[in-house]
């Protein structure tokens, strides 16, 4: 009896911790995760300690994501920042049967066709990584610093539309945050409303 109460208390505590952990706020430690990439490799976030890491939530059927891939904007950002040693993880949290859910080979075909260049594309059909970071939309963007702290969480830029014409004049929050921290400055805009399609989690 005592033991079962203790179990209950422990369970409650763990649940509390899980719910606290689930919101990775700016300034907090980025919760660690292990994910399977579309190329079959296993990715541990903790292995990238010492580097900047960008998380990009992705759904290939979402018109907001389409804006940044059809314009080549996302691929440009991926190439620019991975070229400077930043780790770029594209995360696919759509559940099976929902928009944006793909198999590993479908994702590899997409990456090749779009000439995308993330460090890895992580398949997250259970939504585990998405929920860990409380990702709401695609494309939601998170930037983690070399000490493993979240320094930016929100939209990709300041134009919350699906219009390709809005890409050139937009202020890109991810690039600006990376430029600022790399220049030793604080991130001026560290949290914004992430715009886009809702992440298609399973029930």
């Amino acid at each position: 009896m005592k033991r079962s109460i203790l179990n209950l208390v422990v369970t409650a505590l763990v649940l509390c911790m899980a719910s606290v952990m689930s919101s990775a706020k700016v300034g907090d430690s980025a919760p660690d995760f292990t994910g399977t990439a579309s190329n079959g490799k296993t990715v541990h976030l903790a292995d990238y300690r010492g580097k900047y890491v960008v998380l990009e939530w992705h759904n290939n059927g979402c018109p907001y994501v389409g804006k940044h891939y059809k314009s080549g904007n996302m691929q440009r950002l991926q190439k620019q920042w991975t070229g400077q040693g930043v780790v770029w993880l594209t995360i696919l949290s759509s559940a099976p049967g929902n928009q944006g859910y793909v198999t590993a080979s479908q994702e590899n075909d997409y990456l090749a066709k779009m000439q995308a260049a993330p460090t890895a594309a992580l398949l997250d059909p259970t939504g585990q990584i998405g929920h860990l970071y409380d990702a709401k939309t695609s494309p939601q963007m998170i930037v983690i610093n070399p000490q493993g702290v979240v320094i930016y969480d929100g939209a990709i830029d300041d134009k919350p539309t699906t219009d390709l014409n809005d890409v050139p004049g937009a202020t890109n929050y991810v690039s600006r945050a990376l430029e600022e921290v790399m220049a030793g400055k604080p991130v001026e805009t560290a949290a914004t409303r992430p715009y886009g399609c809702s992440v298609k989690y399973g029930d």
Binding site: P63, Y64, D134, A190, Y195, S198, V199
Partner: protein
């Protein structure tokens, strides 16, 4: 033969087009197909007169379970954006947004309207509107229409021709029902006897409402408030998916609203819509005070 049919169809289209362009007493434009629905531009009155505000309605009829968004769309999506082309001497007012609904999917809370909604916009004709046979109103819309599963962006171009007369306008009987029903879905000004205050309590805003003396028109007594939902007008102020807990007080009730993680700078006022017991909705616009000790989150 085939050419004839095509030619004939073309002629009919031209004839129909011309017929629609005639400035008769058309107070309702033909409905335009949009992604997963139709959109109509409707005037409340039969004509427009200088000095009399005219109300136009953008009526969305969407496929079942598809939705558009409120001015604050919530966690995802975006509201429709309208650009008006108005006759000389007329000024377009802001959209009168009906009370939104919470559209919930796992982990996401959006605000909007499912199936159908009408957005009313006032048009203010000044002295610059002179008597002429007819004037045209145009609306260019950028839209996002979504289901729980997917979103489709779209565009629409609508126009409406109205006669100009000097005598006060008469309502169009064909539009009366729609406008009456839509006005019922608009949030009301808060009753004058109510006292509403909002306190900043670290990670929350605490809204305290005291209805004061019960009013016959608003029969809300201290004990009847069991449900209250607040919709913030601006994005990134309160956490959309956080439970909003209602605690009854002797003089009214208190609603605790968790701040959004995206709110990094203090705000001066809280603006939005407060919905009580599911159907009575009020416009809220109150200054935010620092919480006194003891009145913070429970």
């Amino acid at each position: 033969m085939r050419r004839w049919i095509r030619h004939s169809a073309f002629s009919w289209a031209v004839a129909l087009g011309l017929a629609l362009m005639l400035p008769a007493s058309v107070a309702r434009a033909k409905s335009t197909p949009i992604t997963h629905g139709t959109l109509e531009l409707i005037a409340e009155d039969q004509w427009i007169a200088p000095g009399h505000t005219l109300y136009l309605g953008l009526h969305f009829q969407l496929d079942k379970d598809w939705h558009i968004y409120w001015i604050n769309p919530g966690d995802s999506g975006e509201p429709p954006r309208v650009e008006w082309q108005v006759p000389r001497g007329v000024t377009a007012g802001p959209i009168e947004w009906p009370t939104p609904h919470r559209l919930e999917t796992p982990g996401i809370v959006d605000f909007g309207y499912e199936n159908s909604v009408t957005l009313i916009v006032p048009m203010h004709p000044g002295a610059g509107l002179t008597a002429q046979q007819a004037v045209q109103f145009g609306a260019s819309l950028k839209l996002l229409v979504c289901s729980r599963e997917m979103c489709v962006p779209g565009k629409a171009q609508l126009s409406l021709t109205l006669r100009v007369k000097t005598q006060p306008p008469l309502p169009d009987p064909g539009a009366a029902e729609l406008f009456a029903a839509t006005r019922k879905s608009l949030p009301l000004p808060i009753p004058k006897s109510w006292k509403i205050s909002v306190a900043d309590a670290n990670d929350s805003f605490v809204l305290t409402a005291s209805p004061g003396h019960p009013i016959i028109d608003h029969p809300i007594t201290d004990h009847s408030i069991t449900q209250a939902v607040f919709f913030a007008l601006a994005e990134s102020q309160i956490a959309n998916d956080a439970p909003q807990s209602v605690s009854p007080l002797a003089s009214g009730f208190r609603l605790t609203l968790r701040k959004s993680d995206q709110l990094l700078k203090p705000i001066q006022r809280l603006r939005g819509v407060l919905v009580l017991s599911g159907d009575r909705a009020y416009v809220i616009d109150v200054p935010i005070s620092k919480a006194r000790s003891g009145s913070g989150t429970p």
